[in-house]
Symmetry: C2
Subunit: 338 residues, 2 copies
Amino acid sequence: MPHSPMTQSREVRLTSRPHGLPQAANFEIATTPLPPPGEGEVQVKNLFMSVDPYMRGRMYDRPSYVPPFEIGKALQGGAVGEVCASNSAAFRPGDLVSSMLGWREAFNAPPQYLQKIDAQGLPPQTFLGAAGMTGMTAWAGLTKIAGVKAGDTVFVSAAAGAVGQIVCQIAKLKGATVIGSAGGAEKCAWLRDLGVDQVIDYKAEPDLTAALGRAAPKGIDVYFENVGGEHLVAALNAARPFARFALCGMISNYNDTEPQPGPSNIIMAVGKRLRLQGFIVSDYFDQTDAFVSDMTAWIRAGQVKWRESIDNGIEAAPNAFLKLFTGENIGKMLVKLD
Amino acid sequence: MPHSPMTQSREVRLTSRPHGLPQAANFEIATTPLPPPGEGEVQVKNLFMSVDPYMRGRMYDRPSYVPPFEIGKALQGGAVGEVCASNSAAFRPGDLVSSMLGWREAFNAPPQYLQKIDAQGLPPQTFLGAAGMTGMTAWAGLTKIAGVKAGDTVFVSAAAGAVGQIVCQIAKLKGATVIGSAGGAEKCAWLRDLGVDQVIDYKAEPDLTAALGRAAPKGIDVYFENVGGEHLVAALNAARPFARFALCGMISNYNDTEPQPGPSNIIMAVGKRLRLQGFIVSDYFDQTDAFVSDMTAWIRAGQVKWRESIDNGIEAAPNAFLKLFTGENIGKMLVKLD
C-alpha cells in the first residue's frame, strides 16, 4: 500500500564549505513544510539516499562539470523513493522512482525530474547501487574508457567500495584477471568472496608498488582509478605497454587543503604509451538501456553481487558521508529513510 | 660524384652512464678501422647525425621500450648518409640512405638496415628532421594521438624545438589556433614567423598557468607535451572538457637524479574528462607512406618550414647533445660530418 502523502520534510543542508575533512558542523538538518503536489506535479517519499564521494567536489565553490552546492540549500544527491501522491498521468501512487532532487525525505516535482523504476523484484536501493549510477560508473569506466577485454590484468583501487566491487565483478565476467586493493581484513575478505584473483590490503603494505608487483608480476593492462596518490604511482609502475587507465576519482585527494604532489612517475606514460582518461558517468546516460540490460541479466544470473552499508534516518546522512573518507563503509553507502 | 670508400671511422661511445645532466666525460670519440664491405653488404658514409632528447633515456640502465645503450659501444642514433661502396644489388654508390646504426662516420651493413631516400631535391638532413622521424613524431602525436581538428586550440611546449616547430605548423594547417611555449626571445620570434597565434616565453613568465590563461582565455583542446613539470600543470589547468594530451616527452625530467613531484592537479583529468596518452613514433612506422605523402606535399607548397642547429664534426656530437638540455638549439639539432 502506497505511503500516505507527507505534510513536511526534513532535508540535509550545507551550512558552510568544509576545509579539509568535512565536519558535522558543515551540515544541518532542517524541517520544511511540504504542501500537496501542485498541478501536474508528483509527490515522492524517498526510501533511500545515495551517499557518494563525488559530492565532496560540489562542496567547493569552484567551476566544475556541475555547479557547486549552495550554502543553506539541500545537498543534491541521488535517491530512490515511492510516489505517494500524483497530479500527473505519468505516475501513480506506489510507483518507484529515482531522482537527483536532494537529500530530503520527500518532495514535490514535475514528472520530468523523475525516472520510473521497474524493480523486477530487486530491492529499491539496487537502483542507486549496482543497477544505478554506481554500477553504471563501473560499467562505463571499465568497458567504454578502459575497453577491458579477456586476458587483461585489471587493477582496481577502492575495490571494496561501491563502484570498485562492481568493477571487479564486471572485469571477471569479461575474462580478466583482477587485482583489488582495499583497506583492512574485512574488505579484503569480501573481495576474495567476489572472486578477485589477488587482494592487496594497502593499509598493511609499506610499499604499494612492491605489493602490486607481487600481485601482478607481469604487469597490468587496465587500472580503474578511484584513489589517486600512491595507488596511481604504483599503477604507473606496474603498467604494461599500452595499458589503459580509467580515471573515475581520486578520493585520497578530495579533502586536501593544499595541492599534493602528483605522480612522480607520470613520465612512464610516454615510454609505455599509456592512455589515462577521465570520465563522468553522466556522459554515458544515452547508453543507460545497454547498461541496464547487461546489469540486470548479470544480477538475475547471480553473477553480480554487492554489499551495502546502510545508516538509518536522514539525520545520519552527514556522518554517513564522512565514512566515505575514513573508509568505514563497505560497498555502497546508503541512508535509509523511514 | 659518390664519396670514396672509407678505411676507418670515428664513433661516439658512451663511457659511463650520466648522473643528472650528461657531461663531456660520459662520452669518448674512438677510431676504428673500417674494412671493405663484406659479401652482400653496403658501406655508408654518414652525412648528418640526428641529435635527439629520447637518447637520454637510453643512457639509463633500466627496462624500457628500447634497450639501454651499452657502455663502450657507439651510441645508436639516426643518421643519413651516402652509399660509397656496395656488394648489394639493392644499393649503389651515391644512394642516399637513412639508418639507426650509430653515431659514427661510416659503417658497413646488410641492406635491410638501410632505408633508401628519394630526396626529391630536398637537403639530405630533411630526412632526419621535418620529413624524417622528427616530423613523423609531430604528425603522429598531433593527428593520431590528439586527433587535432579545425577549431581546436592547441598548446605546444618546446614549440621551437625540432618536433615542436613541426607540430605548430601541422596544427595551423589543420585549422587550429596554436599557442607555443619556448624559452627566450629568439625562439619566440621564430614561432611568430611560423604563424603561431600566441607565443609564451616561459623563461619570462613567473606563472605559467596565468600566462597560458591569458594566451588561451577559453582554454585548450589539445596539449602536445614535450616538457613536463610546470608546463603539464598549466596545460591541465587550461584544459577544456574532453581535451586530448599527446605525451611525446618530458624533457624537464630527463636528467632528474631524484623523482620530482608530478602534476598536483592531475585530478582535473577526471572532472574534465581529459585523455592523456603517451606515444612512440616507431609504433606508427606502418603509416610512414601516409606521413611522407602529407609532409612532402606541405614542404613543396612552402607550408612547412623549419630551423636547424648544426654543429660540425663527430667530435661535436656530445656537446650538441648537451645543448638539448640547456635549450641552446633552435629547431632540429644535427651534427654534420665532413
